[in-house]
Amino acid sequence: MSDPRDTSLSGGDARIDAAWRSASREEPPARVDETILAAARDAVRGESPRRIDRARPAWWQRWQPLAAAAGVAGLALVLAQRLPTDAEPDETARTPVAESMRPESKPGVAAEDAPAARFAPESASPSAPAEPDRAVAPAPPAATVETANTTASRPALVQQGPAAKAAGQRLDDAPHSPAGAAVDAAASSVVSAPEQWATRIHALHASGQLERATEELREFRRLHPDADAYLPQELRAWAASVDADPSG
């Protein structure tokens, strides 16, 4: 049944085989040969086989991601340590009054939250008289940010906190004497820092407006526990006589 030539592969069809071998002569490209032979040589030299098509990165390339991550972490640590600590929100300074005094502040503008921005005396700028109510409100003292000669803009204070309204009222009540003018001038400047607040109290006291000076001192003390330390020496005795709380 079976042909004896079936048992010998050479008997399959010698002429087909010959024709095939004549037609099928492709060889792998030289670069493939080189890759394989180089890998074979590397292997017996104790190195791991290498591949050209999928070249292994150098040792420094393999460590690159880790080094980059370490660098970023280090940089973040240094930056965290060097950030100013007063960048933290000053909750005592951010009273509702202060918030209400910034009607045009844009949410998300970080610069406005910074202390420097909060206490920047914008009224000192030439544009301040034209837009008095746009003076940047310092935290609590900003309640007094109202120029004496900007009564036209006073309705804007309706939207401001009670402290600001009180301050505006107090300024309105002030007599227009030379001393009062000095007080107004002092008040017209944005009293932001405790030093300036102390200066204004000093001016009120010197002009004889003791009641207002007392009110200011109480407000100053309420918001600055160490307010007395900012007062000039000649006011210390008077300040010592002022109760912290008139009701108490």
């Binding site: 079976s2 042909d3 074979a40």
Partner: protein
């Protein structure tokens, strides 16, 4: 002394063992001997030069990595084409493509195929048809042959394996391999019929 250094005249097994012992020159001889057949084995199965190059390279890198584990229990060629076949199956599994599925039962009349396997004296034109057209026809014809038959043909013609070796490698009875070869030869002859 030359006897201690394997050379081109040594058998594949001796060369592979020598390479496993650290002789890189032995590998060069071995590779030069088998690189064409293994490359063409992949090329005929994939009909894609890029894929054939990648598979060929992977195969020989596996040989390199396996040098210490090689045992001369069988012919080197059998071991080599076992690796090649596994690599090809992996390639098809990943990329889709042919399969070594059995087609022996539904590929025409086996009696006819058996007749075709016998050398056919009517194909005399083949004797003088060693030209480009003949080659192209053969290559085209083999590309249309089912993978299992094509594999048997390539292992026979390109790799020079015996029926028993092909059977052992394919995990099929020798008779099945014979049948596959018959079918393959019949198709190739049919491709050259009109050259008579």
């Amino acid at each position: 002394m030359h006897a201690t250094v394997p050379g081109e005249s040594d058998g594949d097994e001796a060369l592979m063992l020598a390479y496993g012992s650290g002789d890189a020159r032995a590998f060069e001889h071995l590779y030069a001997r088998h690189k064409g057949p293994t490359y063409r084995y992949f090329l005929r199965h994939t009909s894609d030069r890029g894929a054939a190059e990648e598979l060929h390279q992977d195969l020989w890198l596996r040989v390199v990595r396996s040098r210490a584990r090689y045992r001369a229990d069988a012919r080197f060629a059998t071991w080599l084409y076992t690796l090649a076949r596994h690599r090809l199956v992996d390639h098809w599994r990943r990329n889709g493509g042919d399969r070594f599925e059995s087609v022996d039962e539904h590929d025409g009349d086996s009696a006819d195929a058996g007749d075709g396997f016998v050398a056919n004296e009517t194909l005399d034109p083949l004797r003088c048809a060693m030209n480009a057209e003949t080659g192209a026809r053969l290559l085209d014809a083999l590309a249309g042959v089912p993978a299992a038959q094509r594999d048997a043909f390539l292992l026979h013609v390109e790799a020079g394996l015996t029926l028993a070796e092909i059977a052992g490698l394919a995990g099929a009875p020798v008779e099945t391999i014979k049948t596959r070869l018959r079918y393959a030869y019949r198709r190739l002859r049919a491709a050259l019929e009109d050259l008579r």
